[in-house]
């Protein structure tokens, strides 16, 4: 398992901006999702079709305006920690600490804690993270 932080630079698209000329709050959630895909990619994993990850809860603080330019999305698995994660155990919930920075100033613009659960898309039921990882395709 990879427990380090992933860092992804994204361009702010013109259509990400709202009437005030800054990134719309809902778009920040898309940046966070892209950050989690990047984190997963660093695991060398690509989710299979049957076991999927879904967002169960998002706690988010918007701390600064995001103007046109670039953002850096930093993603780290906060729970389970490397010490807590047991490949032979059961874990139904993963929590990602995600932050969106403005790379030019290194200013923190968004701070979020995103809870993710894992589903068997065929059975429509919760599955442990260990099943999700086992079913994911290793790239």
């Amino acid at each position: 398992m990879f427990f380090g932080e992933s860092r992804l630079i994204l361009p702010v698209r013109p259509n990400d901006l709202d009437a005030l000329g800054h990134v719309n709050n809902a778009v920040a959630l898309e940046y966070l999702e892209t950050g989690r895909w990047d984190w997963l990619g660093l695991q060398g994993l690509e989710p299979g079709a049957r076991m999927i990850a879904v967002v169960a809860r998002t706690e988010i603080d918007y701390l600064a305006e995001i103007p046109r330019g670039r953002v850096e999305v930093r993603t780290v698995l906060e729970s389970p920690t490397a010490e807590e994660f047991d490949e032979d155990g059961l874990t139904y919930r993963a929590r990602f600490r995600q932050r969106v920075h403005l790379p030019e100033t290194d200013r923190l613009a968004v701070d979020a804690l995103v809870t993710v659960a894992f589903l068997d898309a065929e059975q429509r039921c919760l599955v442990p993270m260990q099943d999700f990882l086992a079913a994911a395709v290793r790239g």
């Binding site: 169960a56 809860r57 047991d86 032979d88 155990g89 059961l90 874990t91 139904y92 919930r93 809870t115 659960a117 039921c125 919760l126 442990p128």
Partner: protein, 98 residues
């Protein structure tokens, strides 16, 4: 025959992970939905499953038996959950010993 001490171990560990007392969970035989609403650590059924998983992980470490609960509807009373947990524990214990 139920392994002595396992029922109280499960009660204690589940209450610990739910952030509630054993009385709040087991005395009135409330449903899982009520457990979620009472728990300061639970928002939804994912948090509930995590509490079950942590209880099962502790059982494996302390008693050497791997238990995996089936999906239970939220209107399931806690007495039924406890019964299923213990039955699974005893079944897995037998299989491990065989």
């Amino acid at each position: 025959m139920v392994t002595p001490g396992v029922e109280s171990y499960i009660r204690q560990k589940f209450a610990e992970h739910a952030g509630l007392t054993e009385e709040q969970i087991f005395v009135d035989d409330v449903t899982l939905a009520v457990v979620i609403s009472r728990s300061p650590r639970m928002t939804n059924s994912i948090d509930l499953m995590e509490a079950f998983a942590r209880t099962a992980n502790a059982l494996r470490k302390d008693h050497g038996v791997r238990v995996r609960l089936p999906a239970l509807p939220l209107d399931t009373p806690t007495s039924t959950v406890l019964k299923v947990f213990i039955e699974e524990f005893e079944r897995q214990k037998k299989e491990t010993a065989a």
